[in-house]
């Protein structure tokens, strides 16, 4: 099960956060900052793996760099971490299909869209859609209903 997903910039600034289960996630700026810091520190070590233990011992943070942005997901330590790692890629590829020129700027300016795309793929921490194309077709349909 996933707990939250964070996108951070190279400078450790929070660009986007989505909590899959609001009751189980850090809900203050300091908590987020420490999560990001942990991953940043780890990624600077020599030949790191992309998994860091969370403050909550039963969870592991999985991070992945995409250009100047880092995606961080918190998952149960017993989950298939390689799959979570793969999912980060899946989400980003969905985003880059949705936004023609995906950049840091787009991520910052469209938080609601990022939430909505993510919501099509993950609900309550469980992956529900594995095809970006399917997820996006729905999102686009919804975008057109502007009543």
């Amino acid at each position: 099960m996933l707990y939250f997903l964070v996108i951070a910039s190279k400078e450790s600034a929070v660009l986007f956060t989505h909590r899959f289960n609001p009751q189980l996630c850090p809900c203050h700026p300091a908590g987020l900052a420490s999560v990001i810091e942990k991953c940043m520190v780890d990624s600077r070590t020599e030949k790191p793996e992309n998994f860091v233990e969370d403050t909550n011992e039963s969870r592991t943070l999985v991070y992945r760099w995409f250009g100047a942005c880092m995606l961080i997901a918190s998952a149960d330590s017993d989950d298939n971490l390689l799959q979570v790692y793969e999912f980060l890629n899946l989400y980003l590829s969905a985003l880059s299909q949705y936004f023609p020129n995906l950049s840091r700027h787009t991520i910052i300016q469209n938080p609601a869209k990022l939430h909505i795309v993510l919501e099509e793929m993950v609900i309550g921490g469980v992956i529900v859609e594995t095809s970006p194309a399917h997820a996006l077709s729905i999102v686009r349909l919804l975008d057109d209903i502007n009543v």
Binding site: F16, Q109, V126
Partner: protein, 888 residues
């Protein structure tokens, strides 16, 4: 009159003007807010921007402004996303949800999903909106509602809306079915009884074509299987379907929609494998059905990319968990072996994690990768090294202990400080468990202490000393030679090594003359002087050294004057402990010189009765059981002598030493009274030079000097009393006796006699009555009643547990009481008076709790017994101990 009217009108006009000025015409756009926040230079600046905006948003909320509501909630979500509290927007989200505009609804639901907490009133309101929207004719509105419900459902909501979800689960629309399935998962996790309701609807989920529905359907079935064993059986028959799904995925050609780097829907494959694992666990037939496909996945999946490895990892777990064929298991472990050699650290990490899980199921299989795992100890990455270290300790067995230990010690030498303490402790445990002979054991412990330097935990020092003390003379001689070498050349900054070395060299100083060409007295004293005057040595090391030097003086008479000089110099040391030592030992050289010889005799080899009071609460149970055994021996041996010393440990004392003290007393009192005379104070022979025991020694030595040092309180208890009526019946204060006797009978100088006499004669003095703290019924179920009564002396609480069989016909056998206390406390469970209870009979068990930090006493209990042959287990937590037990 008209003028008053005019004034009022003017005032109203003015007020309006002011109001218009204060009120911002339009709230700023999200885009602008983001720019403002991002341009903030410091956290404080960011906070002030956020606070200002929150205030503005609050204001518009209060005005019930529906035009800007959507924009404001969007801004609030952004603020919340950064981690700031934004729960005041919950009601606005609900209003948006109720709006007929789809855009509003969408933002409203998004807000609800992210902002809603456990507040009841809000939940009630949203349940209504959800109910309406679930019935909506538009699939997207239904979808939004389902999505939100899946994320935030509370038990009440789950009950109210389960019917709707069940209906939608059978919808003809795949998009709705998918979301309804995930909703059902959440509903079941909140209200397990509702599981049955969704059972019929799952029938068709596995024959779906749509991957989204398949993946959520499998998630639903998985959580059903995990929740209820009955449903697990029900789904056994779906194994065939699952195998087919997996086969289609593996065999299927390229499908652009679900392809991830050439693998067809890895996420679905992983989900299927997970469910197969649950279904095949412990079921031969189901396992057999899936053997082939697992083998197929394991061989056909490409291992060059992360996706492939994610699937392989899941496959390995499944193979190891189900009752698979041996060939398949070999395949799985080989895959893990390949993982270990992978350059990708992620895969290495996952492999070690998996091996750690698997090692207890199939040690032999993991052993095959021992060399690779040992290689991982040298990995550049710290997390990999930590995992590899844990795994290495799990792999040690009698046949490989030599090689493994060699590798681990060389790992220890270069390891980070954070590893050293854990690693050295584990090394000691492993060596104790598997050592082929004593010489090797001693060698290993010494190497561990040298390799780990100052990070060695105290118990490792104590273990080593004990090991040497109880080994044969040849080994002791060897240890002295080894340690003398270290001692004479060692840098003075490694305390644990110095402590062990000084203890051993002092205790067995007579072997020093046999070392190499013989060590001269002058050399020895020079080394001790170096230690005692060094500023690098800790006070504890100096305590070891000064006592050791006393022993040295009695073994090598030539050093007497030099040692006396050193010791007396310590009489004015700044450290109180050392000063006391100095003063007391000086007394031994001067006024009580006749006592010095017998007092400093060699320790009798003490029994292996180390009490391991585990720091780890989880391990406390096992540890207590282990410790109880030797103690019980002591109790039984003692039946004749009626002497049991119960010793209380002050805060910093080492409980190992205490039980040794107990053991020492018992042994000498029971079996070899003659030896006791020659070794007058067996208690002083505790493995570590425990300061409290030194105090006892000091008190004796000081004799009439009056200051007993007084931190050690021990008492003897009538053993029969313990078993029958509890502690209160007959007990006296051993320390008092020891002190009184020693001071009055100094001329006789046979202290031991007095000790024994006094314990034999058992003067009776009553302990404070246990009524002081009242009694506490901690458990009353299943025909068993447990009552505790308490006695306390300083930090040591003795709890008398009385278990009564309250039934009239049922016989209780194999009664086992286990308890754990918070980490700052130490717990010792003594053997119960019996393990079986006839109807209406009772048994007693003593529990000692040492609470030096005056922490709040809590206890977790685990009970198990057989009632007329039927096993009953139960757990309980006791939080209502009388506060007087720790507030004093």
């Amino acid at each position: 009159m008209s003028s008053i009217k005019q004034v009022i009108n003017e005032a109203v006009e003015k007020g309006k003007e002011v109001y218009d000025k204060v009120r911002q015409p339009n709230p700023i756009r999200l885009r602008d807010l983001i720019r403002q926040i991002r341009s903030a230079k410091t956290a404080a600046e960011e906070r002030s921007v956020v606070n200002k905006e929150c205030a503005a948003i609050r204001l518009t909320f209060r005005e019930e402004d529906s035009v800007w509501r959507c924009r404001n909630v969007a801004k609030l979500l952004y603020i919340h996303m950064l981690g700031y509290p934004a729960h005041f927007g919950q009601m606005e989200c609900l209003k948006l949800i109720a709006s007929p505009r789809f855009t509003d609804k969408r933002i409203g639901y998004l807000g609800a999903m992210l902002l809603l907490d456990e507040r009841q009133d809000v939940h009630l309101l949203i349940t209504n909106s959800l109910k309406n929207d679930l019935k909506s004719p538009t699939q997207f509105v239904q979808g939004l509602a389902l999505c939100t419900l899946a994320a935030i459902a509370s038990p009440e909501m789950a009950r109210d809306l389960a019917d709707e979800v069940e209906r939608l689960l059978k919808s003809s629309n795949a998009y709705i079915r998918k979301k309804a399935a995930i909703c059902a998962v959440r509903i079941m996790s909140k209200v397990p009884e509702l599981l049955e309701m969704f059972l019929p609807a799952t029938r068709n989920l596995l024959s779906e074509k749509n991957h989204g529905v398949l993946i959520t359907g499998i998630t639903l079935i998985t959580s059903m299987c995990v929740q209820s064993p009955d449903t697990l059986d029900h789904f056994k028959k779906t194994v065939g379907n699952l195998v087919r799904i997996l086969k289609n995925l593996v065999m299927a050609g390229y499908s652009p929609e679900h392809d991830v780097q050439g693998v067809s829907d890895p996420f679905l494959q992983v989900k299927v494998l997970k469910l197969l694992r649950i279904l095949g666990r412990g079921d031969g037939q189901a396992s057999e059905t899936m053997n082939d496909i697992l083998a197929q996945v394991a061989t056909n999946t490409e291992a060059t990319k992360n996706v492939g490895n994610a699937i392989l990892y899941e496959t390995v777990l499944s193979i190891m968990d189900i009752q698979s064929e041996t060939g398949l298991r070999v395949l799985a472990v080989n895959i893990l072996g390949r993982f270990l050699l992978n350059v990708d650290k992620n895969i290495k990490y996952v492999a070690l994690h998996t091996l750690l899980k698997v090692v207890h199921q199939d040690n032999q299989a993991v052993q095959r990768h021992r060399t690779t795992i040992l290689e991982c100890l040298k990995d550049a990455d710290i997390t990999i090294r930590r995992r590899a270290m844990e795994l290495c300790f799990a792999l040690i067995n009698p046949s490989n202990v030599r090689t493994m230990m060699k590798e681990l010690i060389s790992f220890l030498e270069t390891a980070e400080t954070e590893f050293k303490a854990v690693c050295s402790s584990k090394c000691v445990t492993a060596a104790e468990q598997f050592s082929p002979n004593t010489r090797w054991h001693i060698d290993t412990l010494l190497k561990v202490i040298i390799a780990a330097g100052n990070s060695v935990p105290d118990d490792v020092v104590a273990c080593t000393i004990q090991l040497i003390a109880e080994s044969g003379e040849a080994e002791q001689q060897y240890a002295v030679a080894e340690l003398w070498q270290r001692l004479s050349a060692a840098p003075l900054d490694t305390q644990p090594l110095l402590q062990v070395a000084t203890w051993v060299c002092g205790e067995f100083a007579n072997f020093l003359s046999l070392v190499g060409g013989g060590v001269s007295e002058g050399e020895v004293v020079a080394v001790y002087q170096r230690i005692l005057w060094s500023s690098q040595c800790s006070a504890v090391t100096k305590q070891y050294a000064i006592t050791s030097s006393m022993k040295l003086a009695s073994r090598m008479p030539g050093t007497n004057s030099l040692v006396a000089q050193m010791v007396s110099a310590y009489g004015s040391h700044l450290n109180v402990e050392l000063q006391q030592r100095g003063v007391e030992y000086t007394q031994l050289f001067t006024r009580y010189d006749s006592m010095r010889g017998p007092l400093l005799e060699r320790m009798p080899p003490f029994e292996r009765s180390r009490l391991r009071v585990s720091q780890d609460a989880a391990a406390a149970n096992a540890a207590a059981a282990a410790a109880a055994a030797p103690l019980a021996n002591g109790l039984h041996n003692n039946n004749n002598n009626d002497a049991v010393a119960a010793v209380q440990a002050p805060s910093q004392s080492d409980s190992n030493a205490l039980l040794d003290l107990l053991g020492g007393l018992d042994d000498s009192a029971n079996d070899v009274p003659v030896q006791v005379k020659s070794a007058p104070l067996p208690p002083a022979g505790t493995g570590s030079l425990n300061s409290d025991i030194l105090d006892l020694l000091g008190g004796l030595g000081g004799g009439g000097g009056g200051d007993s040092g007084g931190t050690l309180i021990s008492r003897t208890v009538n053993n029969g009393g313990i078993l029958d009526t509890g502690l209160g019946s007959a007990s006296n204060n051993l320390l008092d006796d020891l002190l009184n006797n020693s001071s009055s009978n100094l001329n006789n100088s046979t202290l031991a006699n007095n000790t024994i006499n006094s314990t034999n004669s058992l003067p009776v003095s009553t302990l404070p009555s246990s009524d002081e703290y009242g009694s506490l019924t901690i458990y009353e179920r299943n025909n068993l009643r447990l009552v505790m009564t308490f006695q306390r002396q300083d930090s040591l609480t003795t709890i008398t547990l009385t278990a009564t069989n309250s039934s009239t016909s049922c016989n209780i056998t194999d009664f086992l009481f286990q308890a754990a206390v918070p980490k700052s406390l130490q717990l010792q469970l003594l053997t119960p008076s019996s393990t079986s209870l006839a109807p209406a009979a009772s048994l007693t068990q003593f529990i000692r709790v040492n609470n030096p930090n005056k922490a709040v006493l809590r206890m977790k209990l685990r009970l198990s017994w057989f009632a007329d042959g039927v096993k009953i287990e139960d757990q309980n937590e006791v939080n209502n101990f009388p506060p007087a037990l720790w507030q004093y």
